[in-house]
Symmetry: C2
Subunit: 328 residues, 2 copies
């Protein structure tokens, strides 16, 4: 079974761990968000790709959900001693090695997809991890700070500001000029199932879908497309989905996000093509099932808290079961 997953960082990575446990024999292709990528101290940092790679490869800091296990921060301390910023990004020593290898390979002319494959040679995540694009896309967030509106890098919004102010707009800068990385469209076309894990619908999955060609490929795929709501009881399980959903005028509810993705085949007028065949909401949102189904999307209410591997594997199985129903 060939499964394609459009994944962000922590939520996507944890879901993937459950999916691998649920279907160890599946060929899983992960299309990873690179809109969070940032250049720091001359290093190319790919937080979401690395979170997936470290999580599935056994190198993640389990407690934080990002960065390396048993990490230290001596490089960062020394950079601060030089008065060189930014100081808000948690650049760990072990992590620095990953960024050095990546930056050096990119400098030598390898595309990010080839670099990611080389890094995965070490980590063996058990999935094929593809960046959404080899081109530079950077998610910027418009905020008002000290009375002034300005656009900042998503990492600055999330890591430095902890999303403490409203996001006024979210723009995947460069997305329009980008192209899917090699293998992305072919994997979508060949998939038996396409999953949207409980990743951020705006700055993770939304950014991936903003790469020209990817959304249309998902909408046109033969495979059932099943999503899992990252919102439970009207709030994100983790992260700042509520803030960035507000920026694009979408309510922070499981129903609104399903409608935002849209029902597959339901493209109307100049709206983007709908994507979903099925949608999973948490049991606390059971009342939403009827609303989602009214929008033409098959919907089930199941436990959606990734509290441990078993719970997460059960979520993955529920998504695959819903895919079977759609196919039948």
């Amino acid at each position: 079974m060939r499964i394609v997953v459009l994944a962000g960082g922590i939520g996507g990575a944890r879901f993937l761990r459950g999916l691998k446990a649920a279907r160890p024999e599946a060929e899983i292709t992960v299309i990873g968000n690179t809109g969070d990528d940032i250049h720091l101290f001359g290093l190319k940092v790919c937080p979401d790709l690395d979170t997936v790679m470290y999580t599935l490869g056994g190198g993640i800091d389990e407690e934080k959900g990002w960065g390396r296990d048993d990490e230290s921060f001596r490089v960062k301390e020394e950079l601060a001693a030089y008065g060189v910023g930014p100081d808000w990004f948690g650049l760990g020593d072990r992590d620095v090695a990953t960024h050095l290898v990546r930056t050096q390979m990119l400098g030598a002319g390898y595309p990010l997809s080839a670099v990611t494959e080389a890094l995965c040679d070490r980590w063996k995540p058990g999935v094929r991890l593809l960046p959404m694009t080899d081109d530079r896309v950077e998610t910027h967030v418009a905020v008002e700070e000290d009375g002034e509106r300005r656009a900042i890098h998503f990492q600055e919004y999330w890591v430095r500001m902890r999303a403490s102010v409203d996001a006024l707009a979210v723009v995947p800068v460069g997305a329009e000029q980008s192209a899917p990385a090699p293998g992305v469209l072919a994997a979508i076309a060949a998939a038996d199932v396409i999953l949207l894990p409980p990743s951020n619908p705006v700055v993770s999955v939304g950014t991936i879908l903003a790469v020209p060609g990817i959304r249309d490929a998902v909408a046109a795929a033969d495979a059932p497309v099943i999503g899992l709501s990252p919102l439970v009881g009207g709030a994100p399980v983790r992260g700042m989905a509520d803030k960035v959903l507000a920026a694009i005028g979408v309510e922070a509810t499981a129903t609104a996000v399903a409608r935002h993705y849209g029902a597959k085949g339901a493209a109307a007028d100049d709206a983007p093509a709908g994507l979903l065949d099925g949608w999973l909401v948490d049991e606390v949102d059971a009342a939403a099932v009827a609303d989602v189904e009214a929008a033409g999307i098959r919907c089930r209410a199941v436990p959606l808290m990734m509290t441990d591997l078993d719970a997460t594997a059960a979520m993955a199985r529920a998504a695959l079961t819903l895919a079977e129903e759609v196919r039948a």
Copy 2:
């Protein structure tokens, strides 16, 4: 008093510490060797500049004589886990931060001299530290390894091979096309004394002198030029001066090195201009004094082992005393 010192790494740095102790009020300009510089993992590493900066700025590993104090090697371990080499260079975590700042500034277009000044803003070495050039010069050593002659980077010869095979030739690649860094020639011209510390006469001082303009400026300077022999009793106090002297056909003795530098004003035919007004040899080489003086270089035998700060300061004082004699 304005003192100019042409310095390599460990020996030069330790001598400078003694010089500062001997003459705390002096304005010291250090012209640092950059022929040892190397690109590792995309980082620009300047071993000699950093050794001077860390030693005088209080950040050196006192026991090793190079690298940062209280150092760790987690980045290096991780790079090895990626299978990315070389693995023989002792790239410490705290040290990595220096290289990141340097590499980023160079990438932004700052010349090495400006970068070095910026790094020294933190370390406050108490001297003005200038790279010999802003251009790329790389000392290569020709060796025969496994029956094949090849040219390797000096760092590979010294750090990986521990100078265990003969150096067949030493070439400062790029030196002919290089120019002295801003301030170098002016400092030499304005100096009251010019010192050649007990640094390697080939791969440290020799490389500095290979930058077009520097040797002539030293030879033409009004200031007395005083050198201290790095060879004691026919062997280098530390390092591999004997190996690289052999490569250029110079005996590993205090006398031969003095003759190699040459007596100031004694340029003959197509030989390079002579440099030395005075030369200090160790007491064990007292017999060499007459030979050196016969070559037209004033010579004294004094203790030349930098065993501690007092001994090193005494060496610096002896050099300055000899300069006074020359001037008088």
